[in-house]
């Protein structure tokens, strides 16, 4: 289960001023804390800085790479930011995200072919946001076929089915879960990833909903998640779910987590 730590995002409280003020101490602490808590990749998003996004992202990526040894996930809707920052990344970076929207796809694919990062493929096309499981599966299938025929190894693709809030339509939970199952079964070797927290938009006690949704999505085959690894309960749920799914041989990870006090 790949954990992408989401905390360094300029739309999160306190991060934008830290990035603007080039507060390296705060940003590297956020990165270290997430790695200590179990993140395998650090997501970096400075999009709210708008005109200063690219410069800020370059700065943040460099200081994070100097302090932790895990790959970066470049999280930006701006293809220029991806183009500028991808060459600076050490190891196998991740980009979040490509979509089936014609323009975005065309701009990103040459960069992906050159630098070979892992790629989050978001289930959106020029017709808009997906509604049903079928929409998600149709867009995902198209994206996977195009990416692989453009030379991207299937194991580098992480499909994000687009989590939409159940508060606006209670069918959305199952739509995402069914899509994950169909994508994992239909395309062996591909990964699925979710930004979970959208699911609980508009509801009280959002963490409660996010935590359960992660577990349910994992049972459908979800093998990567963008989340806050410093949330101890969500990480404890994740570690526990992995044994119950038979993916933790001899319960080694679970027991190690227990000894490290992760369930206290």
């Amino acid at each position: 289960m790949l954990v992408v730590g989401e905390r360094i995002n300029s739309s999160r409280k306190g991060i934008e001023p830290a990035v603007r003020g080039r507060n390296a101490e705060l940003i590297t602490k956020e990165a270290k804390d997430q790695v200590d808590a179990g993140a395998h990749v650090i997501d970096v998003n400075t999009a709210t800085l708008m005109d200063e996004e690219v410069e800020s992202l370059k700065w943040a990526v460099q200081i994070i790479q100097d302090s932790v040894a895990v790959p970066i996930c470049i999280d930006s809707p701006n293809t220029v930011a991806v183009a500028e920052v991808l060459p600076l990344c050490k190891g196998k970076a991740m980009i979040n995200s490509i979509t089936a929207e014609k323009e975005r796809y065309a701009k990103l694919i040459p960069l992906i072919q050159e630098h070979k990062p892992n790629v989050v493929g978001l289930c959106m096309d020029d017709r808009g946001m997906p509604d049903s499981a079928e929409d998600r599966i149709r867009i995902a299938s198209g994206l996977i076929r195009r990416l692989t025929s453009d030379g991207v190894p299937i194991g580098d693709i992480y499909i994000d089915p687009v989590v939409t809030p159940v508060s606006t339509d209670t069918r959305y939970g199952m739509a995402v879960l069914e899509a994950i199952e169909a994508i994992m079964e239909g395309f062996p070797g591909v990964h699925t990833i979710c930004g979970l927290s959208n699911v609980s938009y508009g509801l009280p006690k959002r963490k409660q909903v996010n935590q359960m949704f992660l577990v349910m999505a994992m049972t459908k085959g979800l093998d990567a998640a963008i989340l806050d690894p410093c949330d101890r309960r969500i990480m404890a749920n994740l570690i526990t779910t992995i044994i119950l799914l038979g993916r933790d041989k001899f319960c080694m990870n679970y027991l190690a987590a227990f000894r490290q006090g992760k369930f206290d």
Binding site: S11, A47, T48, P77, N78, G128, M129, T164, T168, P204
Partner: protein, 210 residues
Amino acid sequence: MAGLEEISLMVQEGNFKEVERLTQEALDKGRLAQDILNGGLIAGMSVIGERFKRNECFVPAVLLAARAMKAGMALLRPILTDTGIEFIGKVVLGTVKGDQHDIGKNLVGMMLEGAGFEVIDLGTDTPSEKFVETVREKKADIVGISALLTTTMPQMKTTIEALKSAELTVKTMIGGALVTQRFADEINADGFGKDAAVAVEKAKELIGKG
């Protein structure tokens, strides 16, 4: 105002069947459609709006109340269309070009209708020319512009500039998860709503009914 209070309560509870029944009953008793609208449906939605703002109720309750209001409106609309509905203002709403997000915009639309505005929703991926054309044609008081991506937020500026250069006197409001008051000031928007409830307050303020 017996009867209207009950309609308002049923809107708040999201009981669309009762709202439908009570609205019909009130009409049969000779109540004016406009009074039922203001004193029953809009009154109920306003309570929901207030509670939503205070985190005492949540999105599903707003959707239920809006559905109940709609059930009542379906009965009132034919009558009101004949006599002419008195809306408190007219809003043109849309998500900017290149942006497909509509959940927040739809909530704002529902809450504005619930507050007595007429809402013309242009949907998503709306070019600035379409905003200009509709505002001119419908003589809107307010235009509400939504964008959820930092890459499409500059389209809000483009749209506001297009409205200004078309010399339309319409008030502009913006919203979206990443929009801030600072950004609204930068692009000269007249108002910014951090959520749907605040958007309604701002809209009322902008037309002098706050």
